[in-house]
């Protein structure tokens, strides 16, 4: 019976640890501390040198849990990334994720050479371990403070962090192999990179499409859709890894495909994945915290700090500024992207690979990686909202409104039922207006279900259910949440007026007196964008024509659908007024 007792105790301890992790999130929210850090601390406290005194040195288990958790996190990240977002920032984010990671790792390495007496290869491994960023941490922080990032900046950070993990993982594994088995030729490395990328890409796309196909065509019992998708994501990951491809790339792509194809049970899947990622993160961080050895950590505290500082203040900023050079980000935006290069799950996870394969001095990598992640979470994590406001990258917007209920309607997939409580003072009540594509279907009042005819109007305190196209459901929020209009809109992203892309230049010239050079009067605006740029425009691309600036507003398949018209600039305000406005802005921050 002894064996059974031991198992029960292990289960009890494990569950208690996860529970402690979950409850500690309350503390973290109260103090605004980065949650992941708190999970790590819980693990460390429970470990052998903390009050918990649990002896844990099962690197294999930690690595396995870490892999699955990471796969789920990336899958979830993919699910929430819209194709349009992905396409709009694929170049800047892609450059950051590849070239940027290389620069970061290379510039971090000299510190390790100097302070830890390492060879270049070993030092590069240190650099690779800490080279990838963690978006989950950034977005969680922004969200909990009710801040909204500028769309292009937010999207770049998001896509970068999803795509740079595979690169950092690849780099780490190559370096570990070189350290274990001797040098490799560049050909081999290139071949391996291509193999990893191609297999990952293929299996990701095939896997994603298969998941969508099964989901839409096989009727699973209610409630099994979400677990099916999550497990299938892990299968895609593991399959790709087993086939010597990049499982992390595959699972991210598969997630994106599933998230963007209209599929059944979209809402449930997202909710389930949310829970799964949370659990994954908690389990992973608590385990990694357990695995650490705080006393030994102290030995490497100083070099770790040095690596972290060089990474945050030199390597990452240089990587960002160089990588983003061709993409027209402002100085402040680049500064912000540099600062939010938060390290997280992947860093510690990668740091455990040397331990797993038994590399000499493996604990050095682990300890350095661990210290860097903690420092980054502490310093950068804590200051991200502040930086966002100071650099004016974020708009304050209490985005805490989430009472929307979405219900699938089996039998078709275009429409869904969206439910809202009608709060006093909601824009809908104030203005009594409903977009034409939404159809009021049910009203719930005093625990009674009424048809719109029976209800005769909508009152405060009712719950309403509307029929709406799935992709537009979110837009209904505006009518039921009392969101203040975003103040001081970013003039770069807006025009004074909007026109559609198929407008001819002559029509514009006639109304606004703009003169376009040459005889192009019958050309459409979207053709004009391509002609002037010599490439496909992106949302936010601006071209000047005399006094007027044309801003690509919505772009689809490389063509401008709507364009903003920025009319002549106002005359500059007198200097005393500008100073006054600046002061006022600073004070209201």
């Amino acid at each position: 019976m002894q064996a059974l007792d031991t198992i029960s105790i292990i289960i009890l301890l494990g569950a208690l640890l996860v529970l402690a992790g979950i409850l500690s999130s309350l503390v973290a929210l109260r103090f605004g501390a980065p949650l992941l850090l708190v999970f790590l601390l819980v693990g460390m406290l429970a470990g052998e040198s903390g009050p918990g005194g649990i002896r844990f040195d099962d690197v294999r288990l930690a690595y396995m849990v870490g892999s699955v958790a990471l796969a789920l996190i990336l899958f979830d990240g993919g699910l929430r990334t819209k194709f349009a977002t992905f396409r709009s920032v694929i170049w800047p984010a892609g450059t950051l994720a590849t070239f940027g990671v290389l620069i970061t790792a290379t510039l971090t390495a000299p510190v390790a050479i100097y302070l830890l007496n390492m060879s270049w290869t070993e030092a590069l491994l240190v650099g690779a371990v800490v080279a990838s960023t963690d978006a989950a941490a950034v977005f969680f922080l922004m969200h909990s403070r009710g801040l909204r990032l500028r769309p292009r900046v937010g999207a770049t950070i998001e896509v970068e962090s999803g795509t740079n993990d595979p690169i950092a993982i690849f780099l780490t594994i190559i370096l570990v192999e070189i350290l274990m088995a001797g040098p490799k030729s560049w050909d081999d490395i290139a071949l391996l990179l291509v193999q990893q990328a191609v297999i990952g890409l293929l299996l990701g796309v095939i896997g994603g499409r298969t998941i969508v196909g099964v989901l839409n065509n096989v009727s699973l019992p209610q409630g099994l859709h979400a677990p099916f998708v999550a497990t299938a994501g892990v299968v895609v990951f593991a399959l790709s890894q087993a086939a010597n491809g990049s499982g992390f790339l595959a699972v991210y792509l598969a997630g994106m495909i599933v998230g963007n194809r209209t599929a059944r049970a979209h809402g449930t899947i997202l909710a389930f994945m949310d829970a799964a990622t949370w659990l994954g993160q908690i389990a992973m961080f608590v385990l990694l915290g357990l695995l650490s050895w705080p006393e030994r950590l102290l030995q490497h505290l100083l070099p770790g700090l040095a690596v972290a500082l060089v990474l945050m203040l030199v390597a990452r900023p240089v990587a960002v500024f160089v990588s983003l050079l061709p993409f027209g980000f402002t100085f402040r935006e680049r500064l912000f992207i540099s600062w939010v290069g938060l390290r997280g799950a992947v860093g510690v996870f990668l740091a455990s690979i040397p331990l797993l394969v038994g590399l000499p001095n493996a604990h050095v990598y682990f300890d350095i990686g661990f210290v860097v992640v903690i420092v980054s979470l502490l310093i950068q994590g804590w200051t991200v909202p502040f930086a966002a406001r100071r650099l004016r990258i974020a708009k304050r917007r209490p985005d805490t409104f989430h009472p929307r209920v979405e219900l699938d309607l089996p039998g078709q997939r275009a429409q869904e039922l969206v439910g809202y409580p009608v709060a006093p003072g909601s824009p809908f009540l104030r203005r009594g207006f409903m977009p034409p594509w939404a159809k009021l279907t049910l009203v719930i009042r005093d625990e009674r279900v009424l048809t719109p005819e029976e209800a005769r109007g909508i009152h405060e305190g009712d719950h309403v259910y509307l029929l709406a196209p799935q992709d537009k459901a979110q837009a209904l929020d505006r009518f039921f949440a009392d969101l203040p209009p975003p103040s001081s809109p970013d003039p770069r992203l807006l025009g004074d007026f909007f026109v559609t892309g198929d407008v001819t230049l002559s029509a514009l010239a006639e109304i606004y007196g703009i003169s376009f050079e040459g005889d192009q009067s019958m050309m459409t605006l979207s053709d004009y964008f391509v002609r002037r740029l010599g490439r496909a425009p992106q949302a936010g691309t601006t071209i000047r024509v005399g006094e007027v600036a044309l801003v690509a507003h919505r772009v689809k398949d490389g063509r401008v659908v709507t364009a903003g018209l920025q009319l002549a600039e106002e005359e500059a305000a007198p200097w005393w007024k500008r100073i006054w406005m600046t002061l006022r802005r600073m004070l209201s921050d």
Partner: protein, 153 residues
């Protein structure tokens, strides 16, 4: 250019009752014709033509229909607050309740653009828009429109 040069005190409609975008434009064209002595039909057609290129609803419940009128002598502005907001096909999907009509003479060129930009930025300022929504009579609306210095964006 001060807005008083464009909008006359009698070119304010404090509570216009309309059921939709087209009717709103029709009513505004009628009133503009009355005040400027131009042909109502021509004004209406010109405004509709501009709407065909893309809605002049600029978001946040504001619309600024505009166009060029060959026989007009100077810039002409007309402001209306709608009693009930109507769908104006704005990009942000929000119904519109503040409408500023701006007509320009054929040769206005840069002045036309400046005036349009000025009106757009004035109305887009949330404070101004709120004040306009709270004001009930024509005098108060006129005061808000003409007294507020344009916000430096």
């Amino acid at each position: 250019m001060p807005l008083t040069d464009i909008v006359a005190p009698n070119a304010i409609i404090p509570a216009l009752k309309v059921n939709g975008k087209k009717q709103a434009i029709q009513e505004l064209a009628a009133r503009a014709a009355e005040l400027s002595g131009q042909n109502e039909r021509v004004i209406f057609e010109i405004l509709l033509q501009r709407e065909k290129l893309g809605s002049t609803g600029i978001g946040h419940g504001i619309a600024i229909p505009h166009g060029k009128l060959p026989k007009l002598e100077r810039l002409f502005g007309l402001f209306a607050r709608l009693e009930r907001a109507v769908d104006f096909e704005s990009l942000d999907g929000q119904p519109v309740d503040l409408v500023f009509l701006l007509l320009a003479p054929e040769g206005a060129g840069a002045d036309h653009l400046k005036a349009l930009a000025q009106v757009a930025r004035l109305l887009r300022d949330p404070e101004t828009a709120n004040k306009l929504r709270e004001s009930r009579d024509a005098e108060a609306l006129y005061a808000v429109l003409t007294m507020t210095p344009p916000a430096t964006a």
